[in-house]
Subunit: 133 residues, 2 copies
């Protein structure tokens, strides 16, 4: 490597797969780094930080579209913070909804599952319960 970090090193440093990094570049989320003589990508600290930011957001469940928005916002340093806050709160609300949905689902599936008392599938209460409304 002439200079800078190789894609493999960056992958290790950020816990991202190599293919995923290239994918982020292709969709314009991560800027194209300069290349070495051998046409290898050579990353610097700014790339590392940006990728780190992306991964952190993804770990928190933001979609790539949201990450893109957050990245855009983070560049407009003199703009009001409200947009960032709204994005975070919206996402929080979304997570809350998902949790509620899953809990409802869990409850119902548990109810259904408890019907099972062994025996033949022909008499299976689970299948029956899945068929009923």
């Amino acid at each position: 490597m002439d200079d800078g970090t190789s894609i493999g090193e960056l992958a290790k440093a950020t816990g991202t797969k190599v293919v995923t990094i290239r994918y982020y570049e292709k969709i314009g989320l991560l800027p194209e780094p300069p290349r070495t003589r051998g046409n290898y990508r050579a990353y610097d600290a700014r790339h590392r930080e940006r990728l780190h930011f992306i991964r952190r957001c993804r770990d928190l469940g933001f979609t790539l579209a949201q990450v893109r928005e957050l990245l855009d916002l983070s560049k407009k340093t003199d703009r009001d913070c409200a947009a960032v806050d709204r994005l975070a709160l919206d996402h929080l609300a979304e997570i809350g909804r998902k949790i509620a949905d899953l809990k409802r689902l869990e409850k119902e599936l548990r109810r259904i599952s408890e019907c099972c008392q062994g025996g033949r599938i022909g008499d299976c209460r689970i299948i029956e319960a899945l068929s009923g409304s």
Copy 2:
């Protein structure tokens, strides 16, 4: 409609979109119904029941692969019920994991979000928190 239920009627009756029904047919989840003279699909009660079963499972968060398994199992009426039960319990465990993940995530995002006190993006604590580990 010569005879049987049209795809639109079936869609309404089961709360499924027309395109989704055709999609289920294409991937072999729903058997091809006979056609009318005008080449319209004409469904019967068995199709309705099967689609109903599929939707019910989907609503409960089963994947289409799992639905396929359940449908296969439900035909083997003399087989032991254990496989069905295991599928349900596996799914239940999965849901539990997802809930736990989302709760962890919610907690962290809430922590981050509470940092916001208005002001400029340049000083935004949310962006900062998203950048940090």
